[in-house]
């Protein structure tokens, strides 16, 4: 089979599964999840085949697998949509396929498949007694659609198709965050997430339109892979004097990313998105959406960095990006310190890790950003699924002991190490990867690469911020692990927690393998001792999707030492601080940090701030101005006036125009038609032959005209 055809086929199975589940299969849970997972398996297999082909193809960057069809005819040209596999999308496809598959499988166990349905459960509320999820089939339908969106986004060869997949995911995240729409918090969260990301998407759409008007195309190859367009874009100034067109477009697209991957200041929706089921959290925060955001700017790296040469001064756009990324990384890390909800911690750590990638793009470290994107996807998915498993265990314990507590609160856990060994070890691996535990974990290599890049090009501010953020990351990761698994159980529930079913643990193990192994693909050559044992495949391969390959950095011990130091330091500090927190004991950080802690705990009061600055004014405006004054007063008054006048005019017209003139004419016409019809209809005898004769005569006349007169 032709490889391009395979690429076309990759996104199809999930959407088919979605349709079939929604239309036919939703009555049978088993059939539904068989459909969903079967389709995901097909996509996964196809993706692996394509990936294998892509890896073995020489010089994929210049000759990507690409095929496109004309879609919208636009004047003389047609807007083409199609699929493309170049190195970047290949690696992205790789981790997307794996994580999606893992999450699908995990969802079976997470939604208690096989347990009887508890009569107390209502659709829209989480099952409280461990019965099967009431809307089981619906869930699988949604995540299938979600997977479809993500795959489309990854495989598309132009910005528009990417945007389509992007919006599909937006919808799905809305549906899935609000999956338990019975909970008010979930409802608010879904609206919040949708609105916030919309803000970004609007700007992204602007950027898209700007790009199309500037270049007349949206295809990656035609824009990102030829210097003429890029240099032209970089040269021409945009509406904003300081920015070139490229910079302007890059900035607009980047705002889309800010919304999608929850960068400051649009980060607020991500923590609330934790209201959804844990697989959803994993889907949104690891595999799909946030990755999509970063994938966008990584994909448009050439455009963003147009007019910037390696080692040169950053363009304004890049500066902005780098600043926001670095700031977000630190900022989110600090918030994560003070959170007790196990999933919120992960959410904030996600934000900060995404900050890393964005900062990496900002300072022009393309490969590093892509690398970290992949590794992060793996270990963050692992961590989320692990946390889900933990929550499951605690819930189970709570059911047994019958005490009512928040199963997400880490203060209610502790000592789960023995209870749930698989979860513990995998979570440990994930955590170490997240905090960049030296040498073995994937996180270390990618993060180290970012730091090294920042250092090598002398972006000190970025370097220091990121290093600090890394320290904090290690710290809160250790804090989380310690609070959850180490020490003694702080509640009865934690005592009675138990390991989850195999459908949940198997994906954990698989992802754990990648969380460790994914890093080895990108070990720099010049690394002491183990450098060059494995070729720096990541750099070679991924940089192929750029025009001029960035040369690999020469080795520099400073960033290495720094990252090792912060990682180990953070871990040790965290372990020391949290290794034994007594039951009901308060957070050890509370006293030293004092009021700062409360600030952090309340996330810098950002939600309150937004509520005060944006939401309430909006309400007020709507209420007083729009409704009372504008609507009731002006518009209605005007309308009433119009109505009254119209009434008078109408009556006048009716009496003096309509009845005498119009009706008279109408009747006359009707009568005339009837009469003429009565006269003319004698022609229509209904006799075939007379019609035939007329036809033949005309044919004869025509022929004789053509033959005799015309020449």
């Amino acid at each position: 089979m032709h490889i391009e055809t395979l690429i076309w086929l990759i996104p199809l199975p999930p959407v088919l599964a979605f349709a079939m589940i929604v239309l036919f299969a939703h009555r049978s849970n088993r059939l539904s999840h068989l459909l969903a997972i079967g389709s995901m398996l097909i996509s996964w297999g196809l993706a692996m085949v394509v990936f294998g082909n892509a890896v073995t193809t020489k010089d994929l960057g210049h000759h990507p697998f690409q095929v496109s069809i004309p879609w919208l005819p636009m004047g003389e040209t047609a807007f083409r949509i199609g699929v493309m596999i170049d190195p970047l999308s290949a690696v992205t496809l790789f981790f997307v396929a794996w994580t999606c598959l893992a999450i699908f499988v995990y969802s079976i166990g997470y939604h208690n498949f096989g347990k009887p349905r508890d009569p107390g459960d209502r659709p829209g509320l989480p099952p409280h007694a461990g019965g099967i999820e009431p809307m089981y089939a619906r869930f699988f339908a949604f995540i299938s659609l979600f997977a479809f969106g993500m795959l489309t986004l990854v495989l598309s060869d132009n910005l528009l198709l990417l945007f389509i997949g992007w919006e599909i995911m937006g919808l799905c995240s809305y549906l899935l965050i609000g999956f338990w729409y019975g909970k008010p918090s979930a409802r608010d969260a879904m609206v919040k997430a949708f609105m916030t990301t919309r803000v970004g998407d609007v700007f992204m759409l602007l950027g898209l339109a700007y790009l199309y008007s500037a270049t007349g195309t949206l295809s990656y190859r035609e824009i990102l892979f030829n210097e003429h367009v890029l240099s032209a874009l970089a040269a021409t100034p945009s509406v904003i004097p300081v920015l070139s067109t490229a910079g302007m477009i890059g900035l607009l697209l980047f705002i889309g990313t800010v919304g999608k991957s929850a960068q400051w200041p649009l980060h607020v929706w991500l923590p609330d998105a934790m209201e959804g089921p844990t697989p959803v959290s994993a889907m949104i925060h690891a595999a799909a959406m946030v990755s999509a955001g970063v994938y966008l700017i990584v994909r448009f790296f050439p455009l963003i960095t147009a007019g910037w040469h390696e080692g040169g001064a950053l363009t304004p756009t890049m500066t902005v990006i780098a600043f926001i990324g670095a700031f977000t990384a630190l900022f989110a890390a600090t918030i994560a310190l003070a959170q007790n909800d196990i999933k919120r911690v992960l959410a904030y750590s996600t934000i900060s890790q995404l900050g890393y990638m964005v900062a990496a793009v900002g300072i022009g470290a393309f490969v590093a950003a892509a690398f970290h994107l992949i590794t992060h996807a793996f270990f963050k998915a692992l961590l989320f699924l692990g946390s889900g498993s933990v929550i499951h265990g605690v819930e189970h314990g709570a059911r047994e002991t019958g005490e009512h507590l928040d199963p997400n609160d880490m203060m209610n856990m502790g000592g789960l190490r023995k209870k749930m060994p698989i979860t513990f070890w995998t979570f440990l691996i994930g955590g170490f990867a997240l905090s960049g535990f030296p040498l073995i974990t994937a996180g270390f290599w990618s993060k180290d690469e970012i730091l090294a890049d920042a250092f090598a090009h002398g972006h000190w501010a970025v370097f220091l911020t990121l290093a600090l953020a890394a320290l904090l990351t290690a710290f809160y990761t250790m804090r989380q692990i310690a609070l959850t698994f180490l020490g003694e159980p702080r509640t009865e529930a934690a005592k009675h927690a138990h390991e989850s079913v195999w459908t949940m643990t198997l994906p954990l193990v698989v992802l754990a393998v990648f969380a460790v192994g994914a890093g080895w693909a990108g070990i720099p050559e010049h690394f002491p001792v183990i450098g060059g044992l494995l070729p720096n495949w990541m750099h070679e391969f991924v940089s192929g999707s750029l025009l001029e390959h960035p040369e690999a950095l020469e080795f520099n011990p400073v960033p290495l030492l720094v990252s090792v130091a912060v990682a180990l330091g953070g871990l040790t500090l965290g372990w020391l601080a949290y290794r034994r927190v007594p039951a009901g004991g308060e957070d050890p950080l509370k006293r030293p940090l004092g009021p700062v802690h409360t600030v952090l705990k309340n996330k810098y009061y950002f939600d309150e701030f937004y509520a005060a600055v944006f939401v309430r004014p909006a309400y007020w405006l709507a209420e007083t101005f729009t409704y009372r004054w504008l609507d009731r007063g002006v518009i209605d008054g005007f309308l009433h006036w119009v109505g009254r006048t119209a009434l008078r005019v109408g009556s006048f017209l009716r009496n003096y125009v309509d009845l005498p003139i119009v009706n008279g004419a109408g009747d006359a016409v009707g009568e005339g038609v009837k009469r003429s019809g009565r006269i003319i209809r004698v022609i229509q005898t209904g006799r075939v032959q007379e019609y035939l004769i007329i036809g033949v005569v005309f044919a004869g006349v025509l022929i004789s005209y053509l033959l005799l007169l015309r020449p």
């Binding site: 032959q689 007379e690 004769i693 005569v697 004869g700 004789s704």
Partner: protein
């Protein structure tokens, strides 16, 4: 005047005569018989044109199938033609006129045609081989498979349609409606 020409003129004369009788004879049965004669004449013309295959097909399709069908229908609808006086409708003069117009048009065309005096070239390949080529051309994707398939579909459709239309059952239902 070679033998072929004599044969041709004879056949043409007979065929035209038969055709005239077909369109003029008051009795349908006779018309059908004359039709058969005319068709046979056309078959002979085909043979004169070295299209033996078509001639035989002509006999098989027209005389054996269509003519017999027509005769059967004539038998079935006998009562209708009995005692209805005229064989031609009131507009027969218009018909004749338009036929003449058509004839003149065709003849003028013929006179203008450059090839009218052409003589038959020697057949490039013998009938057997030609028949083989014809058969393969009919099912050749690059040549006539589409017309061929369409014709077969048309035949099937016609068969089904004829059965449905002539089905007494439907008629009875129609009667009840009226």
């Amino acid at each position: 005047m070679t033998i072929l020409q004599i044969i041709f003129l004879l056949t043409a004369f007979l065929t035209l005569l038969a055709a005239l009788r077909v369109v003029t004879s008051p009795s349908m049965v006779h018309a059908a018989l004359w039709l058969i004669l005319a068709l046979a004449g056309v078959a002979v013309v085909f043979i004169l044109l070295n299209a033996t295959f078509l001639a035989v097909v002509q006999v098989a399709v027209y005389i054996d199938a269509i003519a017999i069908m027509i005769i059967i229908v004539v038998m079935l609808t006998r009562g209708a033609v009995r005692g209805q006086g005229h064989t031609v409708s009131k507009t027969w003069w218009a018909a004749a006129l338009s036929a003449l117009v058509m004839l003149t048009g065709l003849l003028v065309m013929l006179l203008q045609a450059p090839v009218r005096g052409a003589l038959p070239p020697t057949l490039p390949l013998d009938q057997e081989a030609f028949l083989e080529r014809l058969g393969q051309a009919l099912v050749d994707v690059n040549q006539y498979i589409l017309p061929f398939e369409v014709a077969s579909v048309l035949l099937v459709a016609a068969m089904v349609g004829a059965i449905i239309v002539a089905w007494p059952l439907f008629v009875r239902r129609g009667e009840e409606e009226r």
